[in-house]
Structure formats: C-alpha cells, structure tokens
C-alpha cells in the first residue's frame, strides 16, 4: 500500500517538476514582462546543448548545468538588448520577432551541430519500493523545481531588486520617475527568465534525446502553465502547476498518456474560459 502511495506522489512530483521547470522562465518573461517569447524552447535547448558539451569536455554534471543556465541567461540579455527591447510596447510584434529567432536558431543548430547529438546518460541511482523501481534523478528534478520556486520568491519578494522590478512591471513610467533604471531592470529580468529556461534544459538534458527542435516538447506545457497561472509568478504558476499535475497524473495513470494530454489541455480551456486572468487573479484578490 505504501508503495502505491509513494508511486502516486512520485508521479505527481515528476509532472509537477516538468511543468514548473519548463514554465518558470516563461512566467517572468511572459507572465510579468508581457513578452510573448516564442524562442523560450530554444533557450531550453541552449541549456541542454551547453550542458552536454561541457560534460563531454570533462566538466562535472552539476557544474555544467549551472554554467549552462548562466550561458542561457547571458545570451538572453544579449537578445533582449538587440531584439526584445524594441518590442516592449508591441507584444504581438514580439511574438513574430521571437518566433523568427526560434526558427533561425533551430535551423542553424541543425546545420552547425547536426541532427542528433549523443546523450550523456542519467546519473546512476535508482531505488525500489514494493514492486516498483524509481530513478533517483527524477526526485532531484522535483527538488530543483521547489528550489526554483523558493529562489524566485526570495528574489522578487525579499530583495530591493525584486521590489523595483515589480514596480517597473506594473508602471514603468512611474518607476522611472522615481529613479529606477528600468532599462537595466528589464534586461536583468529577461536574463533571469532565460537562465531559468536554460536551467530546465540543463536539468532534463541527461534524460532526453538531444535534437535542435527539442525545445518544442516543453513549449506547450510552459505556455499553458503560465497562461492559466496568470500574471503573478508565485501565486499563479505554482498553483497552476499543482493543479495541472494532479489532473495529468490521475488521467495518465488511469487512461494512458493520450487521455492525460487531452484532459490537461481541456482543463486549460475551461480555466481560461472561467478565469480569463488566470488562477492568480482569484488567489491575489482573496489574499487582499
């Protein structure tokens, strides 16, 4: 019995980690900053490729993953400076620009790196409970997802940067008038968002096949989590991930992956219909 209970928790943790890690970066870039970043998946891919490249050079996996996230963050800040900065007042155009960027990046990776890269293998370690065996690394992913949420909470709620950043997102002109360097705030926020995307790719790189279009497998989940979560990263994305993870896990377990996917997307449609502002609109209102 305890084996069954643990297995339910493990499956929930697995889906939850996937949703949180793939959505955290987008929650900042899209949820807070309002940039419809269609190249989100490519920042994830960047994190995965940098991780595998560094591991192949002999760098230990955890360090390679941190460096990969930093690389994605730095590239994100460059992209923000060159492209995204020009589209803050034109969100629909930002969609087109970042989509174009995504196409250019995937095709360039295909031409430069090739169509498939050899994987690095998941770190050893599995444990058995009852008749089931589990991969330890999946629990590491869950721990990382919780750590990402905690880190975001501290950065945006407990630091001076967080206060200024939230002020800038709410009313850039007023924040500027009060002396905030809004350009820099946008740049750093975008960098944090893409670094988190890179971290997602870095964490999943050992468990997946690496191809230039791999980011696409994360994009649907990340957008639906952010959209139904709403504008508040902490009060939106996390509950949205819990909610979607429960639905998907229950349906996956009873009816298989097809129904799991259909059911999750159906729930998304219902929520957007009932709560156009996302889950955080309800939670934030209640909280006041």
């Amino acid at each position: 019995m305890s084996a069954e209970l643990f297995s339910v928790f493990y499956q929930f943790a697995d889906v939850f980690a996937f949703l949180i890690l793939s959505a955290a970066g987008l929650a900042i870039v899209f949820g807070m900053m309002g940039v419809i970043n269609m190249a989100h998946g490519e920042f994830i891919m960047c994190g995965a490729y940098v991780t595998v490249g560094l591991v192949n050079l002999g760098v230990p996996l955890p360090i390679a993953q941190i460096l990969a996230a930093l690389t994605a963050g730095i590239i994100g800040m460059i992209v923000e400076f060159l492209i995204v900065r020009r589209f803050y007042k034109r969100p629909l155009d930002s969609l087109l620009a970042t989509w174009g960027l995504s196409l250019i990046v995937t095709q360039s990776m295909l031409l430069i790196v090739g169509s498939a890269v050899r994987g690095i293998g998941t770190p050893e370690g599995s444990f058995a409970i009852g008749g089931y065996t589990f991969s330890t690394y999946r629990l590491v992913l869950f721990g990382a997802a919780v750590a990402v949420l905690a880190g975001l909470y501290i950065i945006f709620m407990k630091t001076r940067f967080g206060v200024v950043a939230r002020a800038t997102m709410q009313n850039a002109a007023m924040a500027k008038a009060l002396g905030a360097r809004t350009g820099r705030i946008y740049s750093i926020s975008f960098g944090i968002g893409t670094a988190l995307a890179g971290l997602c790719g870095a964490l999943y790189a050992p468990t997946m096949t690496l191809i230039p279009t791999m980011g696409a497998t994360f994009v649907v989940e990340s957008f639906v989590t952010v959209v139904i979560g709403g504008a508040n990263v902490l009060l939106g994305t996390a509950p949205a991930a819990v909610f979607l993870a429960i639905i998907r896990m229950a349906l996956n377990a009873s009816y298989g992956q097809i129904i799991g996917q259909i059911g999750m997307l159906f729930a998304v449609i219902l929520i957007i219909r009932v709560l156009p502002e996302g889950l955080s609109s309800v939670l934030v209102r209640r909280g006041r």
Binding site: L110, I120, T133, T207, T217, A253
Partner: protein, 412 residues
C-alpha cells in the same frame, strides 16, 4: 549501344556537376527524380541519411553513364515532417516539375498523405522505409521490410527466449496502431499474452508513468515501437529507473540508431530483425559503407532507411533499363515477369509481382551492455508474402488500399 565517347562525355558531365553536356546529348534530357525527405524538424536525424543515400546513388549512377544513357537530376524538397507540406510538395514535383519518378516519405502518415496524389498520376512512387505493411497499390513500390519479414521472425524468437507476456509501447498513429495489431495477431497464434498496450502521442518525452505501468503489468519483454526523438527518451528514463527488461522492435537499432545516440547501457538487451544495419560485415556491405563514409565522413550511422533509399535508385535504374522505358506500365511489366532484381549490399533483392514489395535477407540482431551489436540469427531471404496470400494481386487488379490483419480484401 552507346559509344564510348558518349559515356566519356557523361563522365565529364558528372565531373562538371550540372553543367550541360554538349550538343550530342541535347536530345536526351535528364531523368528527373523527385525526392521528399525530412532534413529538418523532429525526424531530421533519420531523414538526413535518406537524402545522403539518394545523393550517393545518383552520383554513382551518373558517373557510370546514367540510366539508358540519360543523367539523373535529383530534385529534393524538405517537407519538415509536415504531412500538408508532403502533399503540397508532392503535387509540385508531380505536376509542375513533371518528375519521372517520386521517392520518399518517412512516416506512414506522410506516405498515406502522398499516395492519393500519386494515384491520380501515372508516375511511379518508391517508398523506402520499413513499415507496417499492407499497401496494395500499383503506383507504389516498397523497398523496405514489412511485418512478415520483421514481426513474424522477431516475435516468436522473443517469446521463445524471454516468455509469453509482452507489453507494447507504440506511437499513436497508423504505424504504431497497425504494428500493434500485428503483434496481437502473432501473439495470439503463439498462445502468448499482451499484458498491456500504451499508445503515446508524438512529441511526448516524459515516461515515468509508463515505466510504472509496465512494472505493474509484469511483462516478460517489451515491444517498443515508439517513434521520434522525443519518444526515444523512454530508453534513457527506463534505464535510469532500472526497468531492465528485454526489448524487441521493428524500428530500433538499424533505423533510429539509438545505440549510437544514447549512452550505454540504455539500449542493452534490445532486439530487432533487419535487412540492413551498419554492423553487417560482408565484403559487399563493407564496400558500400566505405563509399558512403568517403562521401559523407560525418555520418553518425548508415541506417536502413538511408540504405533502402540508395537501393531504390538502383532498382529504378534496373526497372527502366529492363523495360527500356520510364513509363510505369512498362516498368510494371518487368515486375510482373518476376525479373525485377538488383544485387544490393545485403545480397540479391527482388520485387514481388503481386504486392510490389521487396524480398529481403533478414537477420535478428541484439544490442549488448556496451551497445555492441551481434547477429543472433540469419533467416536468409524472406519474401513479402502476406499481401499475396490474402488476395492482393497487382498483376490483375489495382486495389489502391492498405490492408491490415483486421481489414482484409473483400472476397469477390
């Protein structure tokens, strides 16, 4: 007969690339070969060897004088794994470029998207993948292996070696569904049991739940007919969770070269039946591999699709030269005579007159813990007999249909 001078000029022409060959050949326009292969998108890693195989065959044939003395012009378009683009590009090649032959398509979904368009023309179409079998269509010539060559050999072997309980993980489209149907039929005939079947949407990459479902069902072995890079992540995740079950497949190793793409031992204990895999060690195969790697030194693996794509052009050349015509009806007369054979790197392969599918020398291969490939059993040449047995006879009637064990021709 053609003069030595002409062949010399053809050689010169090949060396100069696509430059015009001179007034003597002006009356002989090149043969246009339309090729549809995905070299971008999710299936690019499989499609790239198909393009390379076609390019290698075209180069070799052009260097040795072309087909009936005519050079080949390869027109390749990249449908990027999108079935609508397959149809759009198929129409363009058939109607605008007026190609003499159409080759290509990776997934069975793309082939079925193309087939109705090809059927409205008189252009021959070569499908170069192994697949779930059953297409009885006079316009289509199939170069890859089919279930009676792959499943009727593999599944009895797996049952005998590992046990009667199988769990199936299949991609959720026509290939996965029909392959799973084949498995059900063969397992029933063997007195085995399918303890679970899971169909996975394309693009899904997370398998923790699937792995647990498998452990709950306690099978003796797995049939893995999952497709594409995302679904292949199953192997890494199953290995990490220490699932440790024997696996069988009709598409792993020789087609997706997972043993080259994943770190050992993720593919340990995988078995497949194949007409081609790069590890084949015969003089003909080694010579072929040498030519391939000389032209494409960066190729990670010469997969069976790429190999079949290479053979398709030589089969086309043999058919045209025996028919002395590029017309489909004349080529089909050669096929009907049972004389449509080529000496391929795997050995002699022939097109079966009734179904227009290809005979193959099949071997059962397995992957070890260090991802080394060993040949477990050599079945010799196996004919594509199933369609003929159930009543498909393209020499008499063009059904233009795809049959499965549960969809047989109506008895008339």
């Amino acid at each position: 007969m053609y003069s030595g001078r002409l062949i010399g000029m053809a050689l010169l022409g090949a060396m100069l690339g696509t430059a015009p060959i001179g007034s003597a050949r002006a009356a002989e326009p090149p043969l246009k070969v339309g090729l549809l292969e995905d070299v971008s998108g999710d299936l690019a890693f499989m499609g790239m060897p198909k393009l390379h195989g076609s390019q290698l065959a075209v180069e070799e044939i052009n260097k040795s004088g072309g087909i009936l003395g005519r050079q080949i012009e390869l027109i390749h378009l990249d449908p990027q794994g999108d079935n609508a683009r397959y149809q759009e590009f198929g129409r363009r090649l058939l109607n605008r470029d007026k190609v003499d032959v159409l080759i290509g398509g990776i997934t069975s979904a793309s082939r079925e998207a193309l087939r109705p368009i090809v059927d409205r023309t008189t252009t021959p179409y070569f499908y170069t993948n192994q697949y779930e079998g059953g297409v009885c269509d006079a316009s289509m010539i199939s170069m890859g292996a089919v279930p009676e060559q792959q499943f009727s050999t593999l599944i009895p072997w797996m049952v005998q070696k590992f046990g009667k309980k199988v769990y199936v993980i299949a991609a959720d489209y026509n290939f996965g569904q029909i392959s799973a149907e084949w498995n059900r039929k063969i397992m029933k005939d063997l007195g085995g049991e399918v303890v679970g079947e899971e169909f996975i949407p394309l693009g899904v990459s997370q398998f923790a739940q699937t792995i647990q479902n498998i452990q709950k069902a306690k099978p003796d072995w797995l049939l893995t007919i999952n497709v594409g890079a995302a679904q292949d992540s199953f192997f890494e995740q199953a290995a990490a969770a220490n699932l440790n079950l024997p696996m069988g497949s009709s598409i792993k190793i020789m087609l997706g070269f997972e043993h080259k793409r994943f770190k050992p031992p993720a593919l340990n204990n995988m078995h497949a039946t194949a007409n081609w895999f790069e590890e084949i060690d015969t003089p003909e195969a080694n010579d072929f591999k040498k030519r391939w790697h000389a032209k494409f030194p960066d190729e990670l693996y010469i997969n069976d699709m790429g190999y079949n794509a290479y053979n398709a052009l030589y089969m086309y050349k043999a058919l045209v030269e025996k028919a002395k015509s590029t017309k489909l009806e004349d080529m089909r007369k050669v096929i009907a005579s049972g004389d449509a054979c080529i000496d391929a790197p795997e050995g002699k392969v022939c097109i079966d007159p009734k179904s227009q599918h290809t005979s193959h020398r099949m071997r059962l291969i397995s992957v070890g813990p260090k991802h080394e490939v060993t040949v477990e059993k050599d079945y010799g040449t196996i004919q594509p007999y199933w369609l003929g047995e159930i009543g498909c006879d393209l020499t008499k009637k063009n059904d233009k249909d795809q049959y499965t064990p549960s969809h047989l021709p109506s008895k008339s």
